[in-house]
Every structure is written in C-alpha cells, then in structure tokens.
C-alpha cells in the first residue's frame, strides 16, 4: 500500500506541475487579452468590461481544459508503456488505478483553480449588478442559481468525470489493441496500418458504445423524457451505464496490460 501511495504521489506531482503550467499560461493569455482590450479602449476602464472579459476567460478556460485533457491522455499512455513505471514492483491493477486516479485528481485540481477565478468574477459581477450580457446571464443566473435540484447538479458532475474516465479507458484500449496487433503480426508499412487500426478500432468501440447506450435509453425512455424527474432518472441511468462500461474496459485493459502489453522505452 505504501508503494502505491508513493506511486500515486509521484504520478500526481508530475501532473500537478503540468496543471500549474497550463493554468499559468491560461492566466497569462487572459492578462494579455485584458491588456489589449484596455489599450484598444484608450486606457479607459469601465465596469461593464468585466462581462466581456469573463467571456474571454471562459473561452480560454475551455481551451485550457482541452489542452489538459490531451496532455493527461498522453501522459496516461506514456506511463503504461514506460520502463520507468513498469519496472516498479507493483501489480498491474495498482499501476492502472494509480494512473487513472492521479489524472482525475489533476483534472479536479484544475477545476478547483479555475473555480477560484470564476468565484472572483462572480463576486465582482454580483456586486456591480453587471448581468446584461446574455452568456454571462445564462452561466450565472440560470446554470448556478436556478438549477432544478441539487441531485441533478451532482449527477451531472459525476457524469462529467465518468465520461472523462470512460474516454481515457477507450483510448487506452485502442492503444493496447494496436500495440498487441503490431507486436503479434509482422506488419509492413507499420505507420499507415497503425493509423488505419486507430481509426477502425475507435470506430468499432464507439459503435458498440453508442448502440448499447442508445439501446438502453430507447428501452427506458422510448416515450420521451421531457419531465424533470425523467431527466433526473436518465442521468442516474447514464451513471450506471458509464460505470458498467468503465468496469468492462478496465477488466480488459488490465488483462492486456498483465498478459500482453510490453514497454516501448
């Protein structure tokens, strides 16, 4: 257990540094955008500018999340294919979970950092009643304060994290299958075949996932789900479907990691 904790700390520390860098770049980019805006307004400062800046910030935050997700996905794969981590006397289960867990924690950490900035913006806007902007109005007034119930918010967040875990699990499976196929068979034009395999396996995974999920939803909500309770129960169903898929993919991934997947470097 101690070794797993140490590994968790190591993996999280690397990703923590990565998130700090992404957040810093995000803030710097935002600072530059604000500066340009102030300069182009002849150095005059109006409170109403906060609305526009908030939208710029939201856009930059979206980019930051996207970049973080890609970086974490790459780092997830790097760990599973690297001697550095595979040589550690720890079971494949523990390595797989530590890897996934530290990536999720890193994402939560970014979410926390962005949340602080959001709260600052929110308090400035609330203090000055600057809710004229349509998007800001939707984001603050509707999304935060008028959500139908707490359950739905919590479930939406859970679904958000589960879907990220699910996509990481699928990416890992795709990577593993490609590695397995290219290890087992003598492939000529390896790079071309790899890209074809990437496309093919991703397509098959998405098809299976899509047909299963939509099948369940058609069965359960064939008569529509415009009633609030039904949306709520749909979210709960989604959570169970996602968990089911994550469990299945995790079992396959860990089996492949244990029996077939070798390190690249």
């Amino acid at each position: 257990m101690t070794r797993m904790r140490t590994l968790n700390n190591q993996l999280f520390f690397n990703r923590w540094k990565m998130i700090n860098l992404v957040f810093l770049i995000n803030l710097m980019a935002f600072g530059i955008v604000m500066l340009i805006d102030v300069v182009s307004n002849k150095m005059t400062f109006k409170l109403v500018m906060f609305d526009k800046w908030y939208m710029y910030y939201m856009l930059l935050t979206f980019v930051a999340y996207l970049v973080t997700w890609v970086l974490l996905t790459k780092d997830n794969e790097r760990v599973l294919f690297s001697n550095k981590y595979r040589m550690i006397p720890i079971t494949e289960w523990k390595l797989y979970f530590s890897n996934m867990l530290s990536s999720l924690l890193a994402l939560i950490y970014l979410w926390f950092l962005e949340g602080i900035v959001n709260t600052i913006f929110g308090s400035i806007q609330a203090n000055h009643f600057l809710v004229g902007n349509a998007l800001t109005s939707i984001l603050y007034t509707k999304a935060y304060y008028k959500l139908p119930n707490v359950d739905m918010t919590v479930r939406s967040f859970i679904i958000g994290f589960l879907s990220i875990t699910l996509v990481w699990s699928i990416v890992t499976l795709v990577h593993f299958l490609i590695s397995l196929i290219s290890d087992k068979f003598a492939l000529k034009k390896k790079r071309v075949i790899k890209y074809v395999l990437y496309f093919l396996i991703t397509y098959i995974c998405l098809m299976i996932f899509n047909s299963t999920v939509s099948g369940v939803f058609v069965l359960m909500y064939g008569d529509g789900f415009n009633v609030l309770e039904k949306i709520n129960s749909m979210l709960l169903t989604s959570i169970f479907i996602f968990i089911g898929w994550i469990v299945v993919l995790t079992l396959i991934n860990v089996y492949l990691l244990k029996k077939h997947i070798e390190t690249d470097y």
Partner: protein, 235 residues
C-alpha cells in the same frame, strides 16, 4: 549454491518472428555471468522478460524461488536507459524517484557509487554525455539491494576510461550472494569480470559454461571461444 534464476521452456515471438525458442536456463547465485550473442540474438529481450517488462507468452521464469511478477520485480534490478525520464529531469530528481518507488534502494550506496563515478546530482539528464549517462544507469541499478542484477549493454558507446570506472564499480559494489548478468558486444571489456558465459545463438541458449572450463578445456579466451561457437567450430 541455490538457483537465483530458472527459466523453463521459454518461447517468445514478436512481429510474427521467433526471438527466443525453447530457452531453458539455471543460474547459481553469487556469480557474474556474461550474456553473449550477436545483434538481434535476443539478449535484451531475454533480460526484459526476466525483469517482467516483456510478457511471457510461454514458459516459466523463477527468480529466487518466486514466479509472481511483483515478487520477481522485487528481486531483479534491470539497468533502465532512463528514456522514461524527461530531459529536463535533474539527477537528484531521478534518484528521488528511485528511492521513492524501490524500497531496496539505498541512498547511501548510491552516493558512494556516484562519488566513485564522479556523478553530479545537480546536472540535468539532457546535459549528460553518453558515458556519464551510462555511469548514472549503473549507479542507480547497483544502488538497489537485489538478488539479480541485469545490466543490458552497460558499456555500449562509452569511452575506455568511463568503461574501466564502470567495471570497477560493478566489482566493488556487488554483494557476495547477488548475481549479475551482463550483456555486451565488448566481450573483451567485460571478460575479466565473468565467472560464467551464456551464449545465445539461433534463438536458443547455445552454451552455459564456466570461464575456468573455457580456459582449461579449450585453452581459449572468452572472446575467441565465443567466436568459435558462433562460427560453428565448437559444437
């Protein structure tokens, strides 16, 4: 003397090609063994299989009586070429990583070896020459208290002075009951270290022979014996 390593009926294929076939090997503890073979003979693959970073599709690997992968990894210290670390990582960070994840890693032993080899903790990986990187790999590998050390081409691309230093450190920091397997193209460079020689030829273990026997029975040096085995002059 007990068996530190036992390999039974190991077969390994990659990319549809046989790399190792019907490998059976038993090694006693406390020795330094040279793993010799031409390029692509399967030396690195064999080491990686023993260390548990390559899969074992067919066969059984036993290290110090353990067949479970985790226990094997606890008993084996493989020289990693550190490609998993970032170029910006300082030596101190790599040492910190090793001491955090390997319970048998001794900082004191590392510092002794590093002082002997002249390694500077503050240097970044990117700033190291091939020779210094090789020294770092050896220091990290030997600083663990393992039963079996696997040194994969530790002298490859390294200048003669650094080579001598590395060889001296292997002799100096080897525990009496631990076993070291060294693979290298520089047969002459490592010859002075070896107690036994394992030769891989045509995907199979061709020979496991004590160095004394090579000298007494064939009146040859290790390199000459190895060449004759490869040319088929010794059956």
């Amino acid at each position: 003397m007990s068996n530190v390593l036992k390999i039974e009926e190991l077969n390994y294929k990659k990319g549809g090609k046989k790399i190792l076939e019907d490998v059976n090997l038993k090694l006693d503890s406390g020795k330094i063994i040279g793993l010799l073979g031409e390029n692509g003979a399967g030396k690195t693959t064999l080491m990686r299989i023993i260390a548990g970073v390559n899969s074992v599709p067919e066969g059984v690997i036993t290290v110090n009586g353990n067949t479970k992968k985790v226990s094997i990894k606890e008993n084996v210290s493989l020289s990693d070429h550190l490609d998993g670390f970032k170029a910006t990582n300082k030596i101190s960070e790599i040492v910190h990583f090793y001491s955090a994840v390997y319970q048998d890693f001794s900082i004191t032993k590392y510092e002794d070896i590093a002082n002997f080899l002249g390694l500077d903790m503050t240097k970044k990986l990117a700033a190291l020459s091939t020779g210094t990187r090789g020294k770092l790999v050896i220091a990290l590998t030997l600083a663990r208290s393992a039963k079996l050390y696997l040194l994969d081409e530790p002298l490859s691309g390294i200048d003669s002075i650094s080579r001598k230093k590395i060889i001296s450190s292997i002799i100096r920091w080897k525990d009496d009951d631990s076993t070291i397997i060294i693979s290298d193209h520089y047969v002459t460079a490592i010859a002075s270290l070896l107690d036994e020689v394992v030769i891989i030829k045509d995907q199979k273990i061709r020979d496991l022979i004590p160095v004394e026997k090579i000298q007494s029975d064939y009146h040859l040096g290790i390199e000459a014996y190895y060449e004759k085995v490869y040319l088929g002059e010794i059956q």
